[in-house]
């Protein structure tokens, strides 16, 4: 027999900065292998431990391949197969009734980036829900706080090219675990190191990345702005700043200098927990070893002062003139190199009069407290809020509401899907078409459909075409093919799209945006910042408008922004919850917790794969030996981590990888897999950081106690009983 083997070019769909180029191998219609494309200049043929079994993931026997309806009590996970016609009919009837009685704002979408892509990703349901007149969901799970901080300082700059990092001499990896959450930057960092660069990691935890760095600086969570201000104070007072660059290309230097002077090194050391000498050394080295670059991770935003921390850090490169050099400056989000027509994707022109905006980081509150009208139906896609969102216990209570009509589209019966009334089956990446932008490099990547979808699974684009038809929407937009949509969604005339065509993308698999030569590129060597003044704004003119969320993260809607006060100068305010700022809470719950992304999972994805779970192990709690000892906790003991919001169970790992007073537990484990039926976000508060409505996953106090197995059973039973009692 001579099986027919073909290869098809694809792209990783995950919410990861790397957007690896794929080569699918298909044999007799079956996906037998997914490898990296070795020709891609950044991803270079490697994938990661999460995606290495991606072909098999498509055939996971737990895949949802037919629509289903609930047949048991809410949350019991008992479902029965139904036809698409029945599923859509039920959705139409329920939504029509809700709209009649409560108005269309009683329906709300709930989605994020379980799937990336111009077609099936962030914005896929926006046009539909705007047309329907639903409540607008603000989606600020990841990066928006950091981005607003950047935006106010240097504008939506494309930043440093990761391929230019080989020219850097001083690389600060700040709040980022590159080797676990975007490993394709590392070869460029490693090459810089071989050429003599120093690699510094600033992170409360000794991560894989910190272990490989030349210097790990542990910092108390949520205090990064104090460090950045302290660095600026040292750099300015010791005359180490680039006076010429500052004069030509920045505004607000005098005010910044005055603000920074409020942060002498002794104070900064007391706030951050970093020894004074280290702060001095870091500041001096950073200011003098050019080109210096800061790679800032999303974790920077996950505390009360997250936005201002990003603001302060974004001021540093201009202060020392790092932007003058190839490989110098700031590397955050590369997204603005991708010329997308967000309005064509989201259709804000379809938004009805008098809309309502609710933030998804408050999902528990939204489901339990919203009135006039209350949320009567939620549609979840590309998202598993029961693992990913804060304040898990209240979300659970909300999802148990008998009067809530919950529709979930997904690949698997996730923690969230268990609560659904109707489940719809979605396709996996090899079964669909998409064009992927990247937020960690400058290449478009085209995902050609390689195999047919299993059963009756449909791509998200098709899901919303079907829903539009069901709801009687007649616009010609609903009859476009995927390819036609891609053509409509890209600004092909943009200077960034020079030399790029649809056909070439499809054929080559990936193409570089026209951002300039990686070995010569210094985008702000002469200012040219995309800010109102054209300069780096130490004193931000945009701060005046107050806090906001960029429209792609709120279905294209610009108005009704939060608007709360933003200090025009970078500033430090202490976390909501820390020993210093909240002594009363700390008396009960003395430990700060952080919940970094797991090496083996991508958020909650792949946490249902046996191999990934073997690699990642059970939920753990990393605790400093000196915090463990007084609690009688030994290595490997089962511990309960708790506060007033919730609790979860993990195995204690006693390690100096974390600092005293800070415990860590990896995100991603599904609550349903855990003996306590909960995961780390059960303890997270739904408070927002001070910019971009960012979540505050690193700004929570907990207590930790050793438990025996009976107590675990009791905890799990208790949680279930409490939930049932509440809604009986």
């Amino acid at each position: 027999m001579n099986p027919e083997k073909t290869t098809v070019k694809g792209a990783c769909p995950q919410d990861c900065p790397d957007t690896c180029a794929f080569i699918y191998t298909v044999e007799n219609g079956r996906l037998i292998d997914v490898q990296g494309d070795p020709k891609h200049p950044v991803t270079q043929g490697r994938l990661c431990t999460k995606l290495n079994d991606f072909a098999k993931h498509h055939y996971n026997p737990d895949r949802l391949i037919y629509p289903m309806k609930r047949v048991g009590p809410k949350g019991a996970g008992e479902f029965e197969r139904i036809s698409w016609a029945e599923a859509l009919g039920e959705i139409r009837n329920r939504w029509a009734r809700i709209i009649d009685e409560f108005g269309s704002k009683a329906i709300m979408p709930c989605s994020y980036l379980g799937q990336e892509g111009v077609l099936n990703g962030l914005t896929v349901g926006d046009a539909f829900f705007n047309r329907l007149g639903s409540t607008i969901a603000e989606k600020t799970f990841c990066g928006v706080g950091r981005e607003v901080g950047t935006h106010l300082t240097i504008g939506p700059s494309t930043g440093v090219d990761p391929e230019s990092l080989i020219h850097s001499r001083y690389i600060v990896l700040w709040a980022v675990n590159t080797l676990s959450t975007g490993n394709h930057h590392w070869p460029f960092i490693a090459e810089a190191k071989r050429r003599g660069a120093k690699i510094v990691a600033i992170d409360p935890l000794r991560s894989r990345t910190a272990t490989q760095a030349d210097w790990h600086i542990p910092i108390r969570p949520g205090t990064d702005a104090a460090l950045a201000l302290g660095m600026m104070n040292i750099i300015i007072s010791e005359g180490l700043f680039d006076r010429d660059y500052v004069e030509r290309y920045t505004v607000g230097f005098d005010e910044l200098a005055a603000r920074a002077a409020e942060y002498p090194v002794e104070l900064v050391s007391a706030i951050t927990g970093i020894p004074e000498q280290d702060i001095l050394t870091l500041s001096r080295e950073y200011a003098t070893q050019a080109p210096a670059v800061i790679r800032l991770g999303v974790a920077i935003e996950r505390s009360r002062n997250g936005g201002q921390a990003s603001r302060a850090i974004n001021c540093l490169p201009a202060l020392v003139g790092a932007w003058r050099h190839v490989g110098g400056g700031y590397l955050g989000l590369t997204l603005s190199a991708f010329a997308m027509k967000w309005d064509a994707m989201c259709r804000p022109d379809w938004i009805k009069e008098d809309p309502r905006v609710l933030n998804l980081n408050n999902l528990g509150k939204v489901l339990l407290e919203t009135s006039d009208p209350p949320i009567k139906s939620l549609m979840v896609y590309n998202h598993n809020p029961l693992v990913q969102s804060p304040d898990q216990e209240r979300i659970k209570k909300g999802l148990l509401r008998e009067d809530l009509f919950l529709v979930v589209s997904d690949l698997f019966v996730t923690d969230t899907a268990k609560y659904a009334d109707i489940i719809l089956p979605a396709t996996m990446q090899a079964e669909q078409t998409d064009l992927m932008f990247s937020w960690g490099h400058f290449y478009w990547t085209y995902n050609n459909k390689a195999i047919e979808s299993p059963g009756e699974a449909v791509p998200n684009t098709q899901l919303f075409r079907l829903l539009a038809e069901t709801m009687g929407f007649n616009e010609p937009e609903w009859r476009r093919t995927d390819e036609e949509m891609i053509r409509d969604f890209i600004d092909w005339e943009s200077p960034m799209m020079q030399g790029i065509s649809f056909e070439a993308l499809q054929q080559n698999g990936y193409m570089r945006t026209a951002v300039g030569d990686k070995d010569a590129r210094a985008p702000h060597a002469e200012g040219n910042f995309p800010t109102p003044s054209g300069k780096c704004e130490f004193k931000s003119s945009l701060a005046e408008q107050g806090d906001f969320v960029p429209s792609p993260f709120r279905a294209g809607y610009e108005a009704m922004q939060d608007g709360s006060y933003i200090d025009p100068l970078p500033t430090y305010i202490p976390p909501f919850e820390s020993r210093d700022s909240a002594p009363q809470i700390a008396a009960k719950y003395p430990l700060n917790i952080i919940s970094p992304k797991a090496h083996g999972f991508l958020n909650s994805q792949y946490a249902n794969e046996i191999k990934q779970r073997k690699r990642q192990g059970d939920p753990i709690l990393i605790i400093h030996p000196e915090d463990a000892r007084p609690r009688g906790i030994g290595n490997g003991d089962t511990v309960k981590v708790f506060n007033d919001r919730g609790a979860f169970i993990g195995a204690a790992i006693l390690s100096t990888d974390t600092i005293r007073g800070v415990v860590a537990s990896y995100l991603g484990h599904w609550g349903t897999d855990s003996r306590a039926k909960s995961a780390v976000n059960s303890i997270s508060s739904d408070r927002a950081a001070n910019m971009g409505r960012a979540p505050t996953f690193s700004d929570n106090l907990v207590e930790v106690a050793k438990v025996d197995s009976e107590a675990i059973e009791a905890l799990s039973m208790g949680a279930r009983r409490a939930a049932i009692a509440e809604h009986a």
Binding site: R46, L47, C48, T49, L179, N183, P187, A190, Q212, R615
Partner: protein
């Protein structure tokens, strides 16, 4: 828990693996290479590059070959990093052919 280099490496030393590793995991002596389990990020890039199928993910090892986990850890910590491709040993080509024949 990382990737490991097993018995087939000895006497071969094609070392295409070392050039692709993003974190310079490979350490070696005159005979062969080993993977540093602390640095390895399990990206899997080295596996398909080994012409004699010597590299395996620890989770895929059969019971009788589990010893390689410890051997790699011990040897890697004692030996220098190998980043550049080395000249294969005489006879390596024959081994490649024989492994390909078995596959």
């Amino acid at each position: 828990m990382p990737h490991v280099v097993t018995e087939n490496c000895t006497g071969c030393r094609f070392t295409d693996c070392v050039t692709v590793c993003p974190v310079s995991c490979f350490h070696g002596d005159d005979d062969r290479v080993y993977i540093d389990p602390v640095a390895c990020i399990d990206c899997g890039a080295c596996v398909p590059l080994c012409p004699v199928a010597a590299i395996s993910e620890d989770l895929n090892l059969t019971d009788d070959r589990l010893e390689w986990i410890e051997i790699n850890a011990d040897k890697a910590s004692a030996l220098p990093v190998v980043r550049e491709k080395q000249a294969p040993f005489p006879g390596a080509e024959a081994r490649r052919a024989s492994v390909a024949g078995r596959a």
